[in-house]
């Protein structure tokens, strides 16, 4: 497979402008002749579908939710970055670019990240014009806060509900296009396969989650904005239904999967409390603006927090990373938490927790201000734990949160299957081996509002008059494969529930491919995953029929894909003999920090499906740094 990133020539600051000039345009009258399928209506999918509709294309948008507004993006709390430099604190497009590449531990593509930084400012303009109520200063100007891994304040936010508000902006724009009949909305439809005709993406196979009907839909291009795959760990901060099926099915149809092992473990989540637990709850990174993280200095110190004197506390992030302190990037903060807990200094039941303490901030700023900034997060914490975080420190622990890996895309966001575009968390593009806080919302919206609607025309002009009908054999074959798979899941008639398998798969991936990985553990994980997968297909129990709403059946298909993806994650983690960002191989470290190997691994690993039971083929896209100097990250 040839990986051509199609990065425009020229100085980095001029690449996007040059690309836009070089793209062929679709004339306004011809736009309505093109059908585009958008799967997903999170920040990425909704912004793309709305914008494509505004441009005049015929858009069909599919989501498994009952309304586009329920996409997982709705749960994003803390904020969105933009290089506006409203705070006059030295920010610039170049600094956002630099911070993001460095935060990603030098494993992302320079040209993409630079474009992201450039577009960040347009996103804020767009959101404000749509009526997104971003936080304001008293004079009516926009306010900012800080997020991890940076030393400027460039994060815009809407209380603790930034994702919700940005998604509502995109959702409303989408609903407007639906009313104008530029976008046809398919709620409660799940994409179960990609249809490739003569090497090009020409449609999808869907299942109605209400009637079970399997349908084929054809288009001139297909866009996936279907989100990340952190639910492979079973317990994560993602919404329960978030899954990898769309991208995994596309992978099996020829789209390369890049860096599957780059997963993000978020440092500040509420620790697990029992076996019944269905998900983990994030406490926004923004809390680290004012909260201080600590554990007791001594092992097994069981006193309640306020009985432990200052001199016996270890504010380990402030100690180890004095210049970034509590705002060290996520991968570093998570590993540090694991380390102190491994040393036996963790707090709470099971010793898997560290304190996030607001006592100083409340003294310094007063409770009303803390309430204004974080009130809803404090409430959420109190609801879940029945503890009052205004009085005693929160207990937090790292949890799976985000996936930097995803389908490989070129500069135009097209995958290795021509006509298949991938946007938002579903692609691998901008965050390298670790994503900085408040950058996912930025990326999803940059992709959806600005990049994809611009780049897709360049492909569409080559498709004029090349429509394929759904009665082509490729559609029939894909439809049949989907039906057979459903019948197999229902027909297994085993004894174990889907969730019980998912939980077990999650614990294997978490133990061996979570915060710390080793060659030995990864090999073990691969064996265990394969065994469990075989058992799954024999012993899973899916009740009910496929002709009605059936959540067990929906889950069963998604978990079947998670099995395959988990194996690829471990394969990728095993091959990458270095530590980088969220990928921490215990064999490769220096003073407890990730030790990269730039000589051998400064590339994107793009895996190509070779058939069931065959090892996937590794393709490499070398990463060239022309503008930034490959350096060891330091946050000290």
């Amino acid at each position: 497979m040839e990986l051509n990133a199609r990065i425009p020539a020229g100085p980095i600051a001029e690449k996007w402008a040059k690309a836009r000039f070089d793209y062929k345009l679709v004339n306004p009258a011809n736009k309505r002749k093109f059908d585009i399928i958008v799967v997903g209506a999170g920040l990425a999918g909704a912004s793309a579908a709305a914008t494509l509709g505004e441009l005049g294309y015929n858009v069909k948008c599919f989501v498994f939710h009952d309304s586009p507004r329920r996409a997982h993006s709705i749960a994003a709390q803390g904020g969105i970055n933009a290089a506006k430099n409203y705070q006059n604190d030295g920010d610039s497009i170049r600094r956002l670019f630099y911070d993001t590449v460095k935060g990603g531990d030098y494993r992302s593509r320079e040209a993409n990240v630079y474009r992201l930084a450039e577009l960040s400012v347009n996103i804020i303009d767009q959101a404000v014009a749509q009526g997104v109520p971003l936080a304001r200063e008293y004079a009516g100007l926009l306010e900012n806060r800080s997020f991890g891994g940076v030393q400027v304040s460039r994060t815009f936010y809407a209380r603790g509900q930034t994702g919700q508000q940005l998604l509502l902006g995109a959702f409303q724009a989408l609903e407007r296009q639906i009313a104008l009949r530029r976008v046809q909305m398919f709620n409660r439809y799940e994409m179960l396969d990609l249809v490739v005709v003569d090497g090009q993406a020409k449609g999808i196979i869907t299942r109605s989650l209400l009637t079970g009907a399997i349908e084929a839909h054809a288009a001139d291009a297909v866009v996936l904005g279907t989100g990340g795959y952190a639910n492979v760990f079973y317990l994560s901060t993602n919404a329960k239904a978030s899954n990898a099926t769309a991208i995994w099915r596309a992978y099996r149809r020829g789209a390369a999967f890049a860096n599957p092992c780059y997963t993000q473990i978020h440092p500040t989540c509420i620790p697990q409390s029992g076996d019944y637990q269905s998900k983990l709850t994030l406490m926004s990174e923004s809390l680290r603006n004012d909260g201080r993280i600590w554990v007791p200095k001594n092992q097994g110190d069981n006193r309640v927090a306020d009985q432990i004197p200052e001199s016996e506390r270890d504010y380990y992030l402030e100690r180890k990373y004095p210049s970034y302190g509590n705002l060290a990037p996520r991968d570093i903060a998570s590993r540090a938490a694991k380390e102190v807990c491994d040393e036996g200094r963790g707090v709470g039941s099971g010793g898997r927790g560290v304190y996030l303490d607001f006592a100083d901030a409340i003294d310094r700023l007063g409770r009303p201000l803390i309430e204004e900034r974080y009130g809803n997060l404090f409430e959420m914490y109190a609801d879940i734990t029945a503890e009052n975080p205004y009085q005693s420190p929160m207990r937090i622990y790292p949890a799976p949160h985000y996936t930097m890996g995803g389908l490989w895309v070129d500069y135009n966001l097209m995958s290795t299957v021509p006509g298949l575009y991938v946007i938002g968390e579903a692609n691998f593009s901008d965050h390298g081996a670790n994503r900085l806080g408040a950058s996912a919302l930025m990326q999803g919206l940059a992709d959806g509002y600005f990049v994809l609607p611009t780049t897709i025309g360049d492909y569409l002009v080559t498709q004029m008059g090349k429509k394929v009908p759904t009665d082509r054999p490729e559609f029939k074959a894909a439809q049949q494969a989907v039906e057979e798979r459903i019948n197999r899941l229902i027909g297994a008639k085993g004894t174990r529930t889907v969730d019980s398998f998912h939980r077990e798969l999650g614990s294997i991936t978490w133990n061996y491919c979570g915060m710390a990985r080793s060659a030995e553990g990864l090999r073990k994980a691969i064996t265990e995953i394969r065994q469990l997968r075989d058992q799954y297909w024999r012993e899973v129990r899916v009740l009910g029929s496929d002709e009605e709403p059936n959540q067990s059946l929906e889950k069963a298909g998604r978990v079947a894909d998670f099995f395959e993806l988990a194996e690829l994650m471990c394969t990728d983690a095993l091959h990458r003999n270095e530590s980088a960002g969220g990928h921490f191989r215990v064999e490769y470290q220096a003073d407890g920090e990730a030790k990269r190997n730039d000589a051998d691994y400064a590339y994107v690993a793009a895996w190509e499906f070779q058939g069931d039971g065959e090892p996937p083929r590794l393709n490499k896209e070398p990463l060239e740094y022309e503008n930034l100097h490959l350096a060891t990250r330091s946050y000290k």
Binding site: S47, H65, D66, S67, R69, R70, H72, I74, A75, K84, Y86, N122, I124, D125, Q126, A127, V128, A129, Q130, G131, P133, A135, R136, A139, G140, L141, L142, A158, R159, Q161, Q164, Q172, A173, E175, R176, I178, A179, A239, K240, A241, Y276, Q277, S278, K279, T281, M380, D383, I384, A386, F450, P453, T497, D499, S500, L543, G544, E548, P549, Q551, S552
Partner: protein, 267 residues
């Protein structure tokens, strides 16, 4: 703790449903209401019985997917929380709990506890937006929004479109939902050009599908985001202005105070 659940089971929209009794045993007080149902479902599947269908996703009270009548109250006994955030510590050993789907004409039952809330999206389609195409936006700080106005807009925008307001309302009215969107956009400077046209269009579509508001106030009491019923008064006022003045309301000075004055008067 051990509980007895009486759960509404209904196979499909046009079949008759019934309450079925289940035992929930060894429920942890720290589990959420939905986690309690997860465990019940796991046992049902093990016994070969079909699990109870209920809608959920984020489990953080933000996506608006979840929602059921718990002992006759939308989202259950604790104010300001969605069903997914309701913890079992608020119940006691031996309790009987009656669980039903949202009941409203505009929300037909799909199966068990799942209903079709598509009618709410139709209200948004009628005008719940600011008509700005991508790329059309001015520099963000060119639009000044007084902090109090932004906060007020945000209070309204916090709605999660769960439908509890409709489900609890004896009339099945959607005034709280609609007025929250009308206010979110209508108090902001960006929302002024379409303010009166928007309210008319949204209210008309709302009235086609939902019942009318007779000020019971039950909506506000069960709203998981504690959206204030004051927004309904604002909506009615804007609607009235639009009726008097016609579609050109926006270009005439408002009959009543401007938003900024209103906010300052209130705070």
């Amino acid at each position: 703790m051990n509980l007895t659940l009486h759960v509404w089971r209904q196979k499909a929209r046009n079949t008759t449903g019934q309450f079925v009794t289940y035992k929930a045993t060894d429920v942890s007080p720290d589990a959420s209401f939905l986690e309690m149902l997860d465990v019940v479902n796991e046992t049902l599947i093990e016994k070969g019985e079909e699990p109870i269908l209920f809608e959920h996703d984020c489990r953080e009270g933000i996506c608006g997917s979840c929602g059921m009548m718990i002992n006759g109250v939308a989202h259950g006994p604790i104010g300001g929380t969605a069903t997914c955030q309701l913890h079992m510590r608020h119940f006691k050993d031996g309790d009987n709990i009656r669980i039903e789907p949202w009941r409203a004409r505009a929300f037909p039952v799909i199966k068990d506890l799942v209903v079709d809330r598509g009618s709410l999206d139709r209200i948004i389609q009628a005008g719940g937006y600011i008509s700005v195409n991508t790329g059309n936006a001015p520099e963000a700080n060119m639009i000044l929004v007084p902090k109090a106005v932004q906060e007020l807009s945000m209070d309204a925008a916090a709605c999660i479109q769960c439908g509890a307001c409709v489900a609890q309302c004896p009339n099945g009215a959607a005034q709280l939902f609609t007025s929250a969107k009308v206010a979110h956009l209508g108090v902001l400077p960006q929302g002024q050009p379409e303010r009166y046209e928007r309210v008319v269009k949204m209210v008309e579509v709302m009235e086609e599908m939902f019942g009318s508001c007779t000020n019971y106030g039950e909506c506000e009491a069960v709203c998981p985001k504690e959206i204030s019923i004051d927004f309904i008064a604002r909506m009615n006022r804007d609607y009235l202005v639009a009726q008097f003045r016609g579609p050109r309301s926006t270009i005439l000075p408002p009959l009543f105070n401007t938003e900024e004055e209103l906010v300052t008067n209130e705070t």
